[in-house]
Symmetry: C2
C-alpha cells in the first residue's frame, strides 16, 4: 500500500453543495461511519452520535428549520465575511439539505471530556472516509442549531455539531486553495520554516 494514499484523498476532496438526485448506497455511508467511530476521544468516551436521514419529509423539515437561523444570521453579518460569502455564492438558502440523498447529522454528548475536540477529530476521519467511498459532502454548521435540533428528537445533553449532506456532486467548482505547509508549520521556533 502506498504511503501517500491519504495525501491523494485529501488533495482530491472538496466541499460540494449541489448534489445529483441519483441515489447513493447507504452501505457506503455506514462504512465511512465505521471509520469515524474509531477516532480517539477524551477518556475513550466516544461522545459522537450519528443520525442518518434518508426520509424526504424529514429533510424538508430540517431545511426549513435551518433556514430560519440562516436568515437571522445573514441579516446580521457584514464586512469582509459577507463579501466572502457572497463571492462564494452562499446565502441563507440551504437547498442541499433537501437535495442530498442522505444526510448525516453529528451530535456531541456535552458532558464528555474534550467532547468537541473528539467529535471533530471523528469528523476528520469521516470526511476522508466519505472521499474514499467516492461520496461528496460539505460540513454544514447551522448558524442556529436550536431550530434543527427541535426536529430530530435528540435527548437533552446532546448538541448538534454539523449536518453532512451526502451524495454525488452536480457542480463544477475549483478546489479551495490551501496555504503552503511552509507557512503554517514551523521547526522548533515559531515562524521558522521547516
Amino acid at each position: 500500500m502506498s504511503k501517500n494514499y491519504l495525501f491523494e484523498l485529501a488533495k482530491r476532496r472538496k466541499s460540494i453543495r449541489k448534489f445529483s438526485p441519483n441515489p447513493i448506497d447507504l452501505e457506503d455511508v455506514l462504512e465511512a461511519l465505521e471509520v469515524a467511530c474509531r477516532a480517539p476521544s477524551g477518556a475513550n468516551q466516544q461522545p459522537w452520535r450519528f443520525l442518518i436521514i434518508t426520509e424526504q419529509a424529514i429533510k424538508n423539515r430540517l431545511r426549513k428549520a435551518c433556514e430560519i437561523g440562516e436568515r437571522e444570521f445573514y441579516e446580521k453579518i457584514n464586512g469582509d465575511f459577507k463579501k466572502w460569502l457572497t463571492a462564494k455564492g452562499l446565502s441563507w438558502e440551504k437547498p442541499f439539505i433537501e437535495e442530498a440523498p442522505i444526510l448525516v447529522i453529528v451530535f456531541m454528548d456535552v458532558k464528555s471530556q474534550y467532547a468537541r475536540e473528539s467529535v471533530w477529530a471523528s469528523i476528520g476521519f469521516f470526511l476522508l472516509a466519505l472521499e474514499e467511498q467516492g461520496l461528496n459532502t460539505v460540513p454544514y454548521t447551522p448558524s442556529n442549531t436550536s431550530y434543527p435540533l427541535k426536529e430530530v428528537g435528540a435527548p437533552k445533553g446532546f448538541q448538534l455539531e454539523a449536518i453532512f449532506p451526502i451524495g454525488l456532486s452536480a457542480e463544477e467548482k475549483p478546489r479551495e486553495p490551501r496555504t503552503r505547509l511552509e507557512e503554517v508549520a514551523y521547526l522548533n521556533i515559531w515562524g521558522k520554516s521547516v
Copy 2:
C-alpha cells in the same frame, strides 16, 4: 485501490505513550502534516499552525511546563474519572514529551470562524496520516495549556490545542474498545438502529 483502506488504518491505530528511542524521519511527519493542512475549515481560514519540535532541550522544558499543570489537575480530580485514569496507568507524569523523537504542537487561531472544529478535523486527518506513515502518537491535551504556551513563543491569539509525541511504539497494549456502530448511529429517528 480498496474502498476500505481507511477502515483498516482506523482499526489498526491506537494511542501510544511509550516510545522507542529510535529516530524517525522528519519527512514522514511532514507528509502527515501535508494531509492535515488539507482539511476543510470555516470560511477556508485554515486556523491551524504546527510547531514541530526536534530539539531535546525544548522537549525537556515542555515536559516540565506541562507537568506543572498536570500536578495541579491530578490533585483536584476524584471519583470515576480518577479511577479510570489510574486503571490506565496514567498520572501527572508525561515522560513521552521528552522521549518521543519528534513532537508536533497544534495551535488554533482563535479569531477564525469555527476555529476549534476546523483544527480538530485537521487533527483527524493528521492522526490517520501518521498511522499511514507507520508512526505512533497520542493526542495529548495539557490540563493547563498556559504553562507550555509560555515555552513556545506563539503570538497572542494562538491557543495551544494539543501536543502530539510522535515515534515508534515501545509498549504492548490492547486497543481501546469502541461501541458498536449500531449503538451510536441511528436511522431517521433518534435511537432507532440502522
